[in-house]
């Protein structure tokens, strides 16, 4: 089953492909995830795989690494058909992947997470020393210096991502597949990953890189394959495709993020935050958001942006400081109370916190409005459904309102998460990575909705985003955070991507003065 063939490889064009996908199809009930997909990957090549959400990219990864079985078609490694039983077998054959969602063991140490399932042993026992040493050196290779004995539960998302990457590169690799590896990383961390990938490439490893970030793909890729609706659209050298061409291939039309200049003046201050501090997390943060304004919050991952939003929303215990909503000081005690005062929050982790995936779209949308939808302790199902239908139309959600949210695509789930809050007619929207992992088409739609909410309906919007082009295109003003401090408040005319990155990183090197 497994191939053992080894041939000398060199970067660039090679007559015999390292990996060949041959007419692979995969179907989930009615949904065709992949249909007759064929393309090849040369040794030592960085092959970008792009496509809208649901195009079938992750499904392809699952099939190549043995997590799922194709309905038909074949995968060839170095010319031989392979069908791995599980990812472990794939790794033994030199095919490893970093999957889209983190898959780690929170109670176990970093070192054990890297070696779980394949512990180094000595005389049948786990060799803990060797494990620790190897883990440390692997992480060092990634330019990461964390204590490998600490539990993964305490890590940040980015750190966890690096643990996964360390795990993937812990074996000799022919092919490394990275499924949206930078979506949780800061630009600086991403650059480190680019270096690692470059090094692996130089060693002859082929890389499959899946990403929604265009600039990244342009920067890295040798070859690009575009999938659309489960079908192979085109494989071409990176030089032959510009951004516009890629986007057209992905969505069948061209989408560009362009700022839309505001026509209306700003309203009064709706949300005012004064001297907000939470010990060890963020310190002395003050800002205002006006009616009709979209304020972007940029900064490195881990700089405390999400924590501030959660503190304002009452999701996490607030520290000291003052929050004023529409002129009234409030204490952020719980999401429920803040929602009642018109402050709502769209969480970062949509599936774990944003929606309740097993209940229907209608009930999800109505959930925060439940109290308003009942009289004398009894619900009004008809009103419930009416609200759901209204929101479905307003946000053009593509789903039946009786279907469970779990059957929706990512973008539509995000719209449902937003719809629930819009149904409560909020005053202040806190959006945390609202377009994370959403394809370009839907992204633009979400941006339009945000502008409409702010400019037409007078909401105050605070948008946390790691996607700088988005921040620049959508915001009226940009706040920059670095390690818990608000380090810059840039008007949109000054807020270029370069200026934001400069603010976020400059202050990171000055931390000694503050701490």
């Amino acid at each position: 089953m497994e191939s053992v063939a080894h041939e000398p490889t060199q970067a660039g064009e090679s007559p015999s492909p390292r990996l060949e996908i041959r007419t692979v199809s995969k179907r989930f009930d009615a949904v065709v995830a992949l249909r007759d997909v064929s393309f090849t990957i040369a040794p030592g090549e960085l092959h970008a795989l792009i496509g809208e959400n649901g195009a079938g990219k992750s499904t392809l990864v699952a099939i190549v690494t043995g997590l799922q079985e194709a309905d038909s078609g074949a995968v060839l490694l170095d010319g031989e058909t392979v069908q791995f039983r599980d990812p472990k077998q794939a790794r033994r054959a030199g095919v490893a992947a970093v999957y889209q969602d983190p898959n780690l063991f929170p109670h176990l140490s970093v070192a054990e997470n890297i070696f779980a399932g394949e512990h180094p042993t000595r005389r049948g026992q786990v060799d803990k020393r060797a494990m620790r040493e190897q883990a440390t050196s692997l992480l060092a290779r990634l330019g990461f210096d964390i204590d490998v004995d600490q539990a993964v539960a305490g890590l940040t998302v980015a750190e966890a991502q690096f643990v996964e990457i360390a795990r993937a590169i812990s074996t000799d690799l022919k092919i490394l597949i990275l499924d949206e590896p930078t979506s949780a990383l800061t630009p600086g961390e991403a650059v480190r990953l680019y270096d690692v990938v470059a090094r692996l490439k130089a060693e002859g490893t082929s890389i499959i890189w899946i990403s929604h970030r265009m600039e990244e793909i342009r920067h890295l890729a040798d070859t690009i394959t575009v999938l659309r609706d489960g079908q192979h659209v085109r494989t071409a050298s990176a030089d032959d495709l510009d951004d516009d061409a890629m986007i057209r291939l992905m969505v069948g039309r061209s989408v560009v993020l362009t700022p839309v200049p505001r026509q209306t003046p700003l309203g009064p201050v709706r949300l005012s935050v004064r001297n907000l501090s939470l010990d060890g997390v963020f310190d002395d943060v003050s800002f205002d958001v006006h009616a009709g304004e979209i304020v972007g919050v940029a900064g490195l991952v881990g700089s405390g942006r999400t924590e501030i939003a959660r503190a304002i929303f009452g999701a996490d215990p607030a520290g000291s400081g003052e929050i004023v909503v529409d002129g009234t000081p409030v204490r952020a005690l719980s999401p429920r109370q803040m929602a009642r005062r018109g402050v709502v929050y769209l969480p970062e982790d949509r599936d774990a916190e944003g929606v309740i995936s097993t209940i229907s779209v209608a009930r999800n949308i109505a959930l925060p409005s439940t109290a308003a939808l009942s009289t004398f302790g009894l619900m009004h199902p008809s009103r419930e459904r009416r609200i759901a239908r209204e929101q479905k139309a307003a946000l053009s959600i593509k789903a039946e309102i009786d279907h469970p949210v779990s059957s929706l695509s990512g973008g539509n789930r995000q719209k449902v998460a937003l719809a629930r809050w819009l149904a409560t007619k909020p005053a202040v929207l806190l959006l945390d990575e609202p377009t994370h992992g959403i394809d370009v088409g839907t992204k633009a739609q979400v941006h339009d909705i945000m502008r409409d909410l702010a400019r037409e309906q007078g909401l105050a919007i605070l948008m946390i985003s790691s996607d700088l082009p988005e921040v620049v295109a959508v915001s009226d003003r940009v706040l920059v955070m670095a390690r818990g401090l608000l380090v810059a408040d840039l008007d949109i005319v000054d807020a270029t991507q370069e200026a934001i990155i400069a603010a976020a990183t400059r202050s990171a090197s000055l931390t000694g003065d503050v701490a």
Binding site: T23, S25, R27, V32, R35, D36, E69, D71, S72, G73, A74, A315, S334, P335, R336, A339, R340, Y345, P347, A352, E353, G354, V355, I356, S357, T358, I359, R363, A366, L367, P368, T370, A371, S374, G377, L378, M379, P381, R420, T424
Partner: protein
């Protein structure tokens, strides 16, 4: 089309109905005494108490938690009620006191689970013992017999051939059904059971609703204790000891997911009926107790496991088949995938 969807949505309930009919038929062949209205109703009343507790436990389990202390709460209720009766309290006052006391015990469970964030199995494992101890302290060692008639009315009265306790059971079934299907509490419960962090982020008062479920459950135990006194004309601190296993069986058999988020009152009602019919039939046929235990245990395993087993078997068979013919059928498969359908 919608009928098919309805059938699929309520497939578990349908299965239970079929099982009940089958069990009834079996019971009829087992014993000539089975098929008689008075007999069936009479025996059903002995499942009323546990059925009522099953509705209470259900509200907790739908939220993804568990309460194994309910039987102990019932004992606290019954000895308190009897103690009050012995001391000459009017029945109405005593009823209020008992329900309030039980609600308090439930609230303690709820607060420990919801506010102190402790795992519910561990908490109620603790209160399972603690409340039993409390029952002994309130009720003394010997317990009570010979209670005044006014106190035993609810559990012993017959309306024609229909025992009053059975009516209470059905009434509470209806009340719980409304609670779970048509009130904010119900909406919140299912949401919490599916994901409590996500519910909290949606402004659901998770902690209060959690405590609410434990209070509802404890109230069913309180009502159960009132019925108990009527049915058994006595109260002792060891009342209902160990019955939580039966109650949990009814809840699970009723299609309530032990992981939360799923389950209906109708399902639990049907499960109680099924268990009642089976043990009534086997009892009338004088099956040895141990065989009955064995059969009910096997029923639980088979009914929950069989559907999964069939799915597993089917998928593994089809996989094997596919693997065997994979190479040859690649092109055929493609053709099928392409064909409209």
């Amino acid at each position: 089309m919608s009928l098919v969807r309805l059938a699929r949505q309520y497939s578990w309930e349908l299965l239970l109905v079929v099982l009940i009919l089958a069990a009834g038929a079996w019971a009829t062949t087992l014993s000539p005494f089975y098929l008689e209205a008075a007999q069936i109703l009479g025996s059903a009343q002995y499942f009323a108490i546990f059925g009522i507790l099953a509705f209470g436990l259900m509200t907790v389990v739908i939220q993804g938690e568990i309460d194994i202390s309910l039987a102990s709460t019932l004992a606290v209720g019954s000895v308190t009620f009897a103690q009050l009766a012995t001391n000459g309290f009017p029945v109405v006052v005593a009823t209020v006191i008992v329900l309030a006391l039980c609600a308090t015990l439930g609230a303690i469970n709820g607060v420990l689970v919801a506010y102190a964030n402790l795992p519910s199995l561990a908490v109620t494992l603790g209160t399972l013992g603690a409340y039993r101890g409390l029952a002994y302290i309130i009720g003394g060692e010997a317990g009570f017999t010979g209670l005044p008639e006014s106190y035993t009315y609810l559990g012993s009265h017959l309306l024609g051939i229909v025992p009053a306790s059975l009516l209470v059971f059905l009434l509470l079934a209806a009340a719980t059904a409304v609670l779970m299907a048509a009130t904010p509490f119900g909406r919140y419960s299912y949401a919490i059971g599916n994901s409590s962090p996500a519910s909290a982020m949606a402004g659901v008062p998770v902690k209060r609703v959690r405590v609410g479920a434990y209070v509802v459950a404890a109230l069913t135990a309180g009502i159960g204790s009132l019925l108990w006194i009527g049915q058994y004309f006595s109260a002792r601190a060891d009342n209902a000891d160990g019955s939580i296993l039966f109650i949990l069986t009814a809840v699970v058999l009723g299609g309530v997911s032990i992981k939360g988020g799923k389950g209906t009152v109708v399902g639990v009602l049907l499960a109680v009926l099924l268990l009642g019919v089976l043990s009534n039939g086997m009892g009338l046929a004088n099956f040895p107790g141990s065989s009955q235990t064995l059969i009910l245990g096997a029923l639980l395993i088979v009914s929950i496991g069989l559907p999964n087993g069939v799915v597993r078997l089917r998928s593994s068979l089809s996989r094997r088949q596919r693997a065997a013919t994979a190479a040859r059928l690649v092109t055929d498969d493609d053709a099928r995938a392409r064909s409209p359908g």
